[in-house]
Amino acid sequence: MDILRFITAGSVDDGKSTLIGRLLYDSKSIMIDQLEAIEKQSKNREEGEIDLALLTDGLRAEREQGITIDVAYKYFSTPKRKFIIADAPGHIQYTRNMVTGASNADLIIILIDARHGVVEQTRRHSIIASLLKIPHVVVAINKMDMVNYSQDVFNNIVIDYSTVAKSLGLPQVTYIPMSALNGDNIVDKSDKLSWFDGETLLNFLENVEVQNDVNLTNARFPVQYVIRPQTEELHDYRGYAGKIISGIYRKGDTVTILPAGLQSKIASIELGGKEVKEAFAPQSVILQLEDDIDISRGDIIVPGNHLPKVEQELDVLLCWMDSKPLTEGSRYLVQLNSKTVKGIVKEIEYKLDVNSLEKQFAPEKVSLNDVVKAKIRTASPLPFDSYGDLRVNGGAILIDETSNVTVGACMIQ
């Protein structure tokens, strides 16, 4: 059994919450007391049937307004897989919440209302999926019951969306017609959609291969913490604690420590207190090196020749997440995995319209939820990979040093 992390994009109107509720309900992940609680609420709201959407809205404000404001995480599992759903709001004013939810996702479900087809919101969600490089895309064509389960409607939407997917270079797009409200093609196949010979949504989610998304070639190990017991028997012990974010590490490997560029060899690898000959992503381990060199939190230990870039000039696609606007020349902290350096936003090249992909050069103002192409200069060299090549070492956050808030998400180009 492994884990699939996916994000659902869409609004309440597309039936997003109903879809999640349906997945939880039909996979029997909802308990009686939780069902009773939403039944009670459904009655409070003077609605006849159980409102599956109520399962996902966790905050009082969300329940009162009937909208999703922030990402909620939901869990269910089948004998094949554990699923982690990032249930993100779909509206443009919550783009930053969606970007947050998308950052860890292996897969995105983009909901389309069969009556409306590909709309502005569909394009926006697809653009976010392509910016964040989510490896797998499912286009869930929902509310098929409202279009008499018409195969033509489905086919036309597939043709329309293919154009969008092609223009964005989205990989691995799968189309599934469904009705979340009636449960057609969610967990069980539906007679009404007998013309569709693909898998049901749950079937697909259970079987989609995500292991190939783990990069086992370009190894990266950011040091989080140095373990020094300083006891009599472990007097000289220096263990570098961290998580292998990509690749494979073997005892005896020659490694380069970045950004300094020093070299050494792996003397030992410890996994959960036991010595092992090799370890791989995403295991958390302790590495010991043969040479006594100065290594601290934020350094990266890399075996082999596929080294990350070590530079001070970063070209980034930046999603701005703060209510204060972004201005050229502002200083922030740049945090990439365990490394934090000071940085300055030197140039804002253009603003990207997340609905149309149009570029607006030299924008006057960059506000909350805007996506821009920018240049950042860091105070010291930063080891990084391009986000497109190695997602786990190419995504950095910007922190406002005065408020300490995370204000931006950078996909390094």
């Binding site: 609420q41 809205d57 966790g58 009082r60 919440n97 860890n104 017991p229 939190r297 365990s338 786990v392």
Partner: protein, 318 residues
């Protein structure tokens, strides 16, 4: 020839995949260790909130994997309501002693006396809400800047929304509308003086994940998690242990039943479940078969309102 090469390649791929694949518990474990080490790397005075319950016992086990052969970079801290199960308290003391790690215990009783707080009244008067006062005092006393806790997002709908690094103001309050975006596996632990961060390394675990992990790792638990005979009071379908902390009336329906605890909180607000599960396998089978959620079945304190947890968190609760 080309076909042959393809077969070879795909064979290699399959082999590679199997060899370098982690199951869900390995992935969750590694994520939790990574989060704990981020705490060690980013904060000066962290603490691990330890209650003697299964989730915090799992945290201690994860901390061993994260930091041995070194010492923990934080003490274990228990906020003792005075209404705890003795079995859990004994277990707490023995575990800290066995590991040779520092244990800090602060008691709600002392806070009540020192601050002249009013004890809640009623049949099952719970000090659950008063814990927040003691917790905040303890954070102040030791100047803790991060408190690691065992809360999980599957427990409750407000928790489903909380970040892994959850910033609290000087009153310990959670503001769901002002949460920082939390991207990738990058955790921003920057705070102002007086603020602190609550950190939840097992956010993405479910109740079943915790139990499967306990089984796999052979983690010891206090005896109350396993079926035992106990004198209980039946109240609105829930079984509450008979103790000095609850008010017993002559009309009460009291009997001896074979029970176990699914969660361990205060004796006044944690209900037992009828069970004959005497080992982990039996418990896991019962949990798979159950139709009631963990908190729904065992927590009397969540039933107050639909937003009970959200409100408590906004007031500084764990």
């Amino acid at each position: 020839m080309i076909t042959h090469l393809r077969t070879l390649q795909s064979d290699f791929k399959i082999k590679k995949m199997k060899q370098y694949r982690l199951d869900h518990l390995d992935q969750l474990e590694s994520e939790a260790i990574h989060i704990m080490r981020e705490v060690a790397g980013q904060f000066e005075r962290p603490a691990l909130l330890f209650s003697g319950g299964k989730d915090s016992i799992v945290l201690v086990h994860l901390a061993l994997k994260a930091f041995r052969p070194g010492k923990f970079p934080f003490p274990l801290v228990h906020i003792d309501t005075g209404h705890n199960f003795q079995e859990a308290l004994d277990f707490r003391d023995q575990l800290a002693e066995k590991l040779g790690e520092k244990l800090v215990v602060r008691s709600v009783e002392d806070t009540i006396k020192a601050q002249n707080l009013t004890e809640p009244k009623g049949k099952f008067a719970s000090r659950n809400a008063l814990q927040t006062y003691t917790l905040l005092d303890t954070i102040n006393e030791f100047k803790f800047d991060a408190c690691i806790g065992g809360a999980r997002r599957d427990e409750e709908k407000a928790r489903a929304k909380e970040r892994i690094f959850s910033v609290r103001d000087e009153f310990g309050q959670w503001d769901p509308k002002r949460q920082r975006p939390e991207l990738w596996n990058t955790y921003n632990g920057k705070i102002q003086k007086g603020e602190n961060v609550r950190v939840f390394p097992i956010s993405n675990w479910t109740e079943l994940d915790v139990w499967n992990y306990i089984r796999r790792e052979k983690i010891e638990l206090p005896s109350i998690y396993f079926a035992h005979e106990r004198e209980v009071l039946e109240h609105e379908g829930q079984l509450v242990a008979v103790s000095n902390f609850i008010q017993i009336e002559p009309t009460d329906n009291i009997s001896v039943k074979k029970v176990r605890y699914r969660t361990v909180g205060d004796m006044t607000c944690t209900a037992a479940v009828e069970s004959s599960a005497s080992n982990i396998d039996d418990i896991i089978n019962e949990i798979i078969a159950t139709k009631t959620s963990e908190r729904g079945e065992t927590r009397i304190d969540d039933k107050v309102s639909e937003a009970a947890m959200e409100d408590r968190k906004k007031n500084g609760y764990f």
